[in-house]
């Protein structure tokens, strides 16, 4: 990992209009991403975790300008891309790729998968036609698929196979930044490990940078350098991976880590069960967004906690950081 910042996100916001009635009039806003700032170093893997619907995919899509930001700046490799015209953006697109959460919807059903993977390379005029064909076959094998699949259509694959086609497509352009949105969620543990090892290898060799969005904390622990935790459109904690898993400070992070199911029928964990309704990004609560469900909240419903650096590189947005801690023990394991 180098020390140069490859991606800088400053006060980024993305609001979606809520429309109602026959005329689909705008009646409010979904604050999917609400004032998010962070930096990523070249060659670093930053994990992004958080509740379903908290804005992770929207954040990824807005960084890549697949959604227009409502406000804020995105600086990639020293260039502010949040205001570039689409033609000025095109050459930069090659360096920033996304692996989409929904492989089915992101693969054109009428194209054979060989052409799907090749498309980006031909659009950007990379390699000769035969080299591209060769590269496609190579990529397919790297993600654990047979090179003979090039002439098949997306619907002829299993869910996990389609997901790997999306991965091969993103890697085809050797981008500098890959935003991987639940990229390995439909893969069995063995193939998933194979893909993660491949990602690690590319990172070592070519200094690939990843934003790795995932619900699977075990995977995040194995692949990421730092972890960013989101809640309702905002960052609640960022820290080094080791710190997040051993000494999480935000009560939401603690609840999240304690709820992971463990593949051992005898394992007993002390889960922090969250009560109360999941709040909505349409009508966020006052004060700390997590307060209505937080087991240790006190005055937190009144004042909004700012994101502050509590120790080197460890940022938390909580009035009472560390008052809920992680308990994890190996139950009554008999052996």
């Amino acid at each position: 990992m180098s020390n140069s910042v490859i991606l800088k996100v400053e006060h980024l916001k993305k609001y979606f209009p809520i429309k109602a009635g026959v005329f689909r009039k705008i009646v409010g806003w979904v604050k999917a991403v609400d004032d998010v700032s962070f930096e990523v170093l070249e060659g670093e893997t930053l994990g992004i975790v958080g509740e379903s619907g908290c804005g992770k995919s929207t954040l990824g899509m807005t960084i890549l300008r697949l959604y227009e930001p409502t406000a804020g700046r995105v600086v990639f490799a020293g260039k502010e891309i949040s205001r570039l015209s689409s033609s000025a953006l095109r050459p930069i697109r090659k360096d920033m790729q996304m692996i989409f959460q929904d492989p089915f919807g992101s693969l054109n059903p009428r194209m054979r998968i060989g052409s799907i993977i090749e498309e980006g390379m031909s659009v950007h005029g990379l390699y000769s036609s035969t080299e591209r064909k060769e590269k496609v076959r190579e990529l397919l094998e790297k993600v654990g698929l047979s090179a003979d699949y090039v002439n098949r259509y997306p619907h002829e694959f299993s869910g996990g196979q389609r997901q790997r086609i999306g991965i091969a497509r993103a890697m085809a352009l050797s981008p500098r930044l890959i935003i991987a949105d639940e990229a390995v969620s439909s893969l069995d543990v063995s193939i998933r490990s194979q893909i993660l090892n491949l990602m690690k290898e590319l990172k070592r060799e070519y200094s690939f940078t990843y934003l790795f969005i995932s619900h699977d904390l075990a995977v995040v622990r194995q692949i990421c350098d730092r972890v960013l935790v989101m809640y309702l459109g905002r960052i609640v904690e960022i820290a080094d991976k080791k710190v997040i898993f051993s000494r999480p400070l935000h009560p939401y992070t603690v609840a999240l880590i304690s709820a992971v199911p463990v593949p051992d029928p005898d394992y007993v964990v002390d889960r922090v069960i969250l009560h109360g309704d999941v709040p909505s990004p349409i009508h966020p609560p006052s004060g700390c967004y997590f307060a209505p469900r937080c087991p240790v909240a006190e005055r937190c419903r009144k004042d909004e906690p700012p994101l502050v650096e509590v120790e080197n590189g460890h940022w938390v947005a909580c009035h009472l950081p560390g008052s809920l801690s992680l308990k994890r023990e190996n139950g009554d394991k008999k052996c």
Partner: protein, 336 residues
């Protein structure tokens, strides 16, 4: 096996689904799969990506892509072979008696109708309820799956929902008709662990209340350990091992199952390199003869060129491997 027959809500016997590609080759994607599900029971179907889990479970409902065909087998659901039912009858079974949570929600939801319209339509189709009542049920279901402001979300289109919300909308739709059997294909891949726990609890509750049976397809072995009573392990279109949950985790006997369990990443420590099963999954057009795990197996011998017979090795524990005894003693052949 010791259970009387009628306790089985579903018996799948030797089902085969083949696909035919452009060159006219036969792809034996699912090739003689059998298992049964008792009333109120959850069985987990696990195995490598592409091994035939989704195709098997969709075949139970006669849902097979036009390139494929169910070429054999029986699906006995409450005493009746579903594969013999005409399409019109089948339509009343789908969604009502047997509901599905599809692996890719985006492919199962219709982009031009709101979430509400789709759930309400499903409810009205299978239950005698007025529109108003159905809307109330739909709203309540969305609330139960943890979607905030369900009233507003009913009016949204699938593309306006996050990946996990789409998945939950589909779960709500599947559960709204109180099915007897639920096929849940990777139901929680887009959900964070807290919501996942809530959804699994909801499924468990419905099981207790309605005696619903569940076929759970998942790559998350943590969920398998948490939810299922029995585990069926598939590899390359065949069942390779089947046993009670604790038995599978404590005493796995098929070399593939062992490789699978070894590849689980750990949350409690860091690993420099993640374990994988060596070799690649064979393509359905060129499965090895005999045992299909050949070429990747640490216990392989020349005998393995013959199809391994299913062996009952203990209480409800079935394994398809010539060398399960050596596996039990941990003697790997020195091939690798």
């Amino acid at each position: 096996m010791t259970q009387p027959q009628h306790e089985n809500m579903l018996e799948v016997k030797d089902i085969k689904v083949y696909f035919y590609d452009d060159e006219g080759r036969e792809l034996k994607a699912v090739d003689g799969v059998s298992f049964s599900v008792r009333r109120g029971e959850t069985i987990a179907l696990v195995g490598e990506s592409g091994c035939g889990k989704s195709v098997t479970s969709m075949a139970l409902l006669q849902l097979v892509d036009s390139r494929g065909k169910i070429v054999g087998g029986k699906v006995i659901f409450e005493g009746q072979d579903l594969l013999l039912l005409p399409e019109a009858k089948m339509r009343t079974v789908r969604g009502k008696d047997i509901a599905v949570i599809f692996q890719e929600p985006a492919s199962a939801l219709n982009p031009v109708y709101t979430i509400g319209e789709q759930i309400i339509e499903a409810i009205i189709l299978h239950q005698k309820l007025s529109f108003r009542q159905a809307r109330e049920v739909a709203r309540e279901m969305l609330r139960l799956v943890g979607i905030p402001e369900p009233e507003k979300r009913l009016n949204e289109y699938p593309h306006e929902l996050s990946g996990g919300m789409k998945q939950r909308a589909m779960i709500a739709m599947a559960l709204s008709c109180r099915p007897k059997l639920l096929i849940a294909d990777e139901p929680t891949t887009s959900l964070d662990v807290t919501i996942q726990a809530q959804i699994l609890e909801l499924i468990r509750e419905l099981q207790k209340k309605l005696g619903m049976s569940v076929i759970l397809i998942t790559h998350d072995l943590g969920i398998v350990a948490d939810m299922s009573q029995r585990v069926v392990v598939m590899y390359a279109g065949k069942v390779v091992e089947e046993a009670d949950r604790t038995e599978i985790f404590k005493n796995p006997l098929h070399p593939y199952t062992i490789g699978l369990l070894r590849s689980i990443p750990r949350l409690d420590r860091e690993q420099t390199k993640l374990e994988t099963i060596p070799g690649v999954v064979p393509d359905p057009s060129s499965f090895p003869v005999g045992c299909r795990f050949r070429g990747r197996c640490l216990y392989e011998s020349p005998t393995c060129c013959e199809v391994p017979p299913p062996t009952l090795v203990g209480n409800n524990h079935l394994v398809n491997c010539h060398h399960w005894q050596e596996v039990r003693q941990g003697k790997e052949t020195a091939r690798f």
